[in-house]
Structures are given as C-alpha cells and as structure tokens.
Symmetry: C2
Subunit: 162 residues, 2 copies
C-alpha cells in the first residue's frame, strides 16, 4: 500500500479514502479487467461463419491481452490472493468468456468445419495457448503484433482441423 501510495503521489493513509482495504482494491482491479474484456468482446464479436468468428476471437484475444500486460499479469498471478467469494466472482466472469469461444467451436463442429474431438478441452487449450503470448512478446522483438496474430491464427485454425 505504501508503494502504491508513493506511485500515485500520496501518503499510505490517504488510499483508504478510495478503498476500504487491500483485498477490495485487488478485487476491483481484477473485476474491472474482466468486465472490460467481456464488454470489448461483445463490441467486437460478429455474426459470420464459425471460421470467421474464430479468427475474430483469436485476433481480439491477442490484441486485448497485449494491450494490457499489467492487468493480465495481475489477473492470473493474484488469483490466489482473492478471498473465496471474490475468487468465485472472478471465476464466473472468466467462465463467461470461455463460453464465448466454446460456442464458436461448438457451432463450427456442428457445421462440419471444425473437427475437435472435445470442444471443452479445445476451448481451454486454445485460450491457454493464446494467453501465453503475454509471457514472451516484446514490442521491440522480431515480430510485429499483426505478425504474431497471423501466426497464432494459423495454429488455431489448424488445431481445430479447419
């Protein structure tokens, strides 16, 4: 709390005018992140073919996460420091996001364009693969953000047999 206070230019005690305690502050950070993720996806998602929707999801996920490395880091690494109730709330939001991808994969399989044997596992596997980009991508590296998205999309597409 002292470190946060120093970064925003006040003394530690002054922070408690804005948050009742540290746990609430962490929860608000994570909840805001997940709300923004879901809201941004609702604004981005389209009604095309399953293949198109999967590509939109893939590129959206990479772009959104690369735009917010700090929030993503917190959202994954601080889960264990949430109270049980707060953890459940964040997990529910995460599940809603996973369901968006699962629905695309499910529709694609039904349409005969995707061929994953297990849609639920494919959902989790693809999200893990895509989110991993935040652990290694650096803006000054050899690949542009668009280049990275192209490469991930190639793998996603193939992984579901499209």
């Amino acid at each position: 709390m002292r470190q946060i206070a120093a970064d925003v230019g006040v003394q530690a005690g002054a922070l408690y005018n804005y948050t009742p305690d540290k746990q609430s502050l962490l929860f608000d950070l994570m909840k805001t992140h997940m709300d923004e993720l879901l809201e941004a996806w609702q604004a981005e998602k389209s009604d095309g073919t399953p293949l198109d929707r999967l590509e939109v999801f893939t590129r959206f996920h990479i772009r959104f996460h690369l735009d917010r490395p700090d929030a993503v880091f917190i959202a994954y690494m601080e889960l264990r420091n949430l109270s049980p109730e707060n953890f459940a709330a964040i997990e529910a939001l995460r599940k809603r996001y996973e369901d968006e991808l699962e629905q695309i994969l499910s529709d694609g399989k039904q349409a005969g364009v995707f061929h994953q044997p297990d849609t639920k596992l494919a959902t989790l596997a693809l999200i893990a693969m895509l989110t991993g980009v935040t652990t290694w991508y650096r803006g000054d590296g050899r690949l542009t953000r668009e280049g990275v998205a192209d490469l991930y999309w190639d793998m996603v597409r193939k992984a579901v047999g499209a």
Copy 2:
C-alpha cells in the same frame, strides 16, 4: 517460514539448519524441479521420426506436469520472487527445455512433415497450451489422464500441420 516449519513439525528457527535464507529455499525448489524435468526428458526422448518425437514430447510434458501440480504452480507463480541472478538461472533451464521441443519442430519442418511458419513461436505456443492442463485438470473429472493426453496430442499434431 513459520508455516513451513509447522507443516514439517519443527519451530521456525530450526529451518535455518537446512537453508541459509528463504530465497535460497525457493530457488532450490525451483531448480530441483527444472533439473528433474530436464533429466526425465533426457531419459524419455527417443530417436524416431519427428512425428514420433513430437508425440513422445507431448505425452511426456502432460504426464510430468500432472504428476507435480504443486511444483509446477511454484515454478510459474514464484518466478517474480527470485533474485535477478536466480531468475536468470531458472530461465536458462527453461530455455534448454524449450530448445528440446524447438529442435523437434525444426527437424520436422526440414523433413517436410511439419509446416509451422514460425518454429520459435510454435514452440512457445505449444508449451503454453500443454502446460495449461495443470490449471484445470482434476483427477476426478470426466477425462482420464490418457484421454487428456490423446486430445492434446490431436491438437498439437494438427497445429503444426502434421
């Protein structure tokens, strides 16, 4: 440290007969984990075709990580608590492991059986995808460990165009 001491049945001070400080204890845990990973892989790897080697790697990675959920959790979540020198040492070991997969993918591409456009990115993407299994797999769930490995292998194989 008091919590660890309580779990092993001694007082906190007694732990310092076994480790000079907490940082060393964490580093030793993570280093041991990485050493075991590399050693186990050396014992497991074979000389077959790239496709066979990739399958062996996939199944090995899943099995090894599902066998050690606690060590895996620490190895990923506590990286930020390592001193810079210790972090560099662990990262070097991690890189050696990644290089094992990268070599397989590289050989497969050269042989014309894999078709990933970017071998380095494919390496990181696949490891992230596979390691993700530890965040959701539960032994009492609907899938057996072998079933999970089969499903991941199907996705890995397709993702590299094999």
